[in-house]
Symmetry: C2
Subunit: 277 residues, 2 copies
Amino acid sequence: MATIADLIETRFGLATEAGADRPAEGNLETLLGHRSHRRYCDAPVSDADLEVLLSAGFSAPAKSDLQQAAVVVVRDPAKRAAIADLIPSMDWLRTCPVFMVFCADSRRIRKICTLRGKTFGNDHLDAVLNGAVDTGLVMGFFIQAAQAMGLGCCPISVVRNHIEAIAELLELPPHVFPVAGMSLGWPAETGYVSTRLPLSVFVHQDSYDDSTLEADVDAYDRRRDARYSIPPEKHRDTDSFGRVNFYGWSEDKARQVSHRERDQLARFLKAQGFNLD
Amino acid sequence: MATIADLIETRFGLATEAGADRPAEGNLETLLGHRSHRRYCDAPVSDADLEVLLSAGFSAPAKSDLQQAAVVVVRDPAKRAAIADLIPSMDWLRTCPVFMVFCADSRRIRKICTLRGKTFGNDHLDAVLNGAVDTGLVMGFFIQAAQAMGLGCCPISVVRNHIEAIAELLELPPHVFPVAGMSLGWPAETGYVSTRLPLSVFVHQDSYDDSTLEADVDAYDRRRDARYSIPPEKHRDTDSFGRVNFYGWSEDKARQVSHRERDQLARFLKAQGFNLD
């Protein structure tokens, strides 16, 4: 039977003894075997199932118990279509059974201060970060719950490329901002395990040390390529950057982030009332 | 046998039909029953177990597959003591079996750009948000893995109250910043379920609508108080705010956030090389 060590090897590309004595089952199997799903069957997700998933999501730990996250479930066909129109590269957003937008919410605690006659004392950049991290935790729990119920989902950060339009569509008030969209449904395909850089790249001992990054990335590029080689028609921006002999993950990602996007975030957050100092 | 609906009622305080047909077991039970743990047995956490947990954490979905998170495991007793000295209110940080700091990492992708001869085109505020959300997702997966193995952990955002000192201790280079600490060990106590506002406060349909917030918060305060009444010696800032007849969650949280903290974040992030525009 497959072990947790096998799952770690699949994800991170390197053999390990860790988890060799544990069968690949239960929560650990779900976590280590995580797959995003972008294609769904037509079957709807029931309101009761969605309530269970969202309940699991909002069971995540929250910074100082302040509970600074929110979600907008987008059911109105006109709003769904408007969002899908903004993101034509993701055609499944038009038809996925459930689409929602997870938001950071610094409004609630500020309203509670007003209700209790106190002055909110933390109108600075950390209010943005608190809400964003709480929302990431909620999404992490939500994604796990979806997998546990056999559902599939995919977080969609590209909603932030259109953050002003989407906030207006969802009528987000001051001090609330979109962090990521989320599509949800019953998976039509198995999905695939997204491989990761070796764990040693992420995990540092006592001090941050990335002195071996170049060699680690080169080896990772080769391992990924051996499993799935990015076909020439998917090479980005060959007009600007030409063709290269070996087109790996790092070449692809460097090309991707060389294009400026989302530079409206600071402007948008200021318009939503945040102080970014 | 308890059902998922029972767990939702415990967490959110209101009876529901959702999950009434599902036994409280498996991943959903772990998610909905999540408890943070701050007290641990002396037994160490093995390196192999920690590797499994971190592998599960870094299996979380990552924005555009850019993998912008990192963790520093703090084993050096001098560094552990220095961090514990900064946070005297959390005495368990001095002795918890494992202490680590989860960080947002925008450095790796910038270095990869350099390695591949590309110019990083996204030196703006969204680079901060991307790393923070990815790190929140990693922490969400890590926490679930810890629970699955019977371990307990607690995310500690208060490390950001001392973000400059902790970044220096951990030798964090430009474009890396602490998001939260995390303590880990074998739980010495059961822990408790942190109750939440009703799900309807978090979940909006098509448009954000918090028109019932005041009534929802009042009812939540009363429900929490019926379960656990905050004792008078724990009422905050009675010198400034005096005594109130009813001291609930919202009174406590309003007092807490009326005190300014973490206003050094923007200064720190700029010093770490981030552009906050």
